[in-house]
Symmetry: C2
Subunit: 228 residues, 2 copies
């Protein structure tokens, strides 16, 4: 049915080539298996400018932003390289994640509505029962969504922003993670406990559970992920 009134939609804000190039580059880097042995980490400005169909100027501005964000390193007169994070750096990222998400959980107990918290159940129940093994691939995504949901519940945009930035880096090593099947199951138990703490508005407990849960991940990565 066509509405009687004008369909006003935000004018197609044609973004600048710089920002579009930025997005495209970021996506391309994200989709790349940069930790594989033979991975080509060097970026060629002129080649990229041809591939994207833009001149080097907006491309370079996009690269400058990616450099600021830590995704690439620009070596003057040497080349532009995709940055491989060291294992130590990944561990630090997870540590920061633990700090931020646990704070988010605490905030959530103060500001989130009962309905919002209840909605978390939908993000864990999906993987109840024994179907876990078959959905291991999906588990990781669902896992991420659960944690993102808690952060959203805190209402703190900055925490969401920072953790999202961290995720960009961390997910690149996801494929190098050896998921023992038991981890997913234990994880779900943790998640349910976290939800319960949120529901009972127990800020201290929610914070602690989230922190410990994420620090478990850190330890797991430290033990089982091969890097460097």
């Amino acid at each position: 049915m066509v509405k009687a009134q004008l369909e006003i939609q935000p004018i197609e804000e044609v973004q600048s080539l710089k920002s579009r190039t930025y997005d495209a580059l970021k996506a391309a880097i994200g989709a790349m298996k940069i930790y594989d042995a033979g991975a080509e980490l060097r970026l060629d400005e002129r080649a990229l400018s041809l591939q994207f169909g833009v001149s080097r100027t907006p491309l370079r501005e996009a690269l400058a932003q990616l450099e600021q964000e830590g995704l690439v390193r620009i070596a003057p007169r040497r080349g532009i390289f995709i940055v491989r994070k060291t294992k130590a750096e990944i561990l630090e990222m997870i540590t920061v994640w633990a700090a931020l998400e646990s704070m988010a959980a605490r905030l959530a107990t103060e500001v989130a509505s009962d309905e919002e918290i209840a909605r978390l159940h939908g993000l864990v129940d999906t993987f109840d029962s024994d179907a876990i093994e078959e959905h291991m691939g999906e588990y990781s995504d669902a896992n991420i969504r659960f944690h993102a949901a808690i952060i959203a519940l805190s209402g703190c945009k900055l925490i969401a922003e920072i953790t999202h930035g961290l995720f960009t880096h961390v997910r690149a090593i996801r494929e190098r993670t050896i998921f023992e099947r038991d981890r997913a199951r234990r994880s779900i138990v943790d998640h349910k406990e976290i939800i319960e703490a949120l529901e009972t508005r127990n800020g201290e407990r929610a914070e602690r559970l989230v922190r410990e849960h994420t620090l478990k991940l850190r330890q797991h990565v430290e033990q089982f992920v091969l890097l460097d």
Copy 2:
């Protein structure tokens, strides 16, 4: 005495105009009272390029980085504006700070040496006794150094990096903070407690004290800082 062998020293790594412009711009913005009423928030590319004596290209790359960092906003065809953070955003930054520094304190109890922790005393004892009122200006700096020291003790570079970035924004409102004289005194008490928790390797307590201390600051800013 002149040594018999050549004095090799790292060659003066002349930074690119882009990065030098970035530093200069960041410093200039930092030194500016951007929250004053009549503050000129608009930046003129061509004027800046003349003032810095560089062309617009490296200047724009520096601006792109500052935009990524959230210090300026580039409105296509409209202008480049220094970003004023809203009070809500400042509060979020302090919240993140609390989360990260409290995690840093926890880490410090695990990895810092006794000597390193002992050195913290030097950062609070300075303002012992009643000399506080006269040094109110310096207090703020010393305060910052104390917190930075704890973060350094954690050994987590990423926490240091992120909080440093936050500080860039937060210090801009420092001059708008009404410091009741009592706050500094209570602050010192808090600091001493924190040191004690670190010395006794009480991670839980150190984390809690730091969090509560910083959240006090948040509440103080919420109550007494005028913005927007």
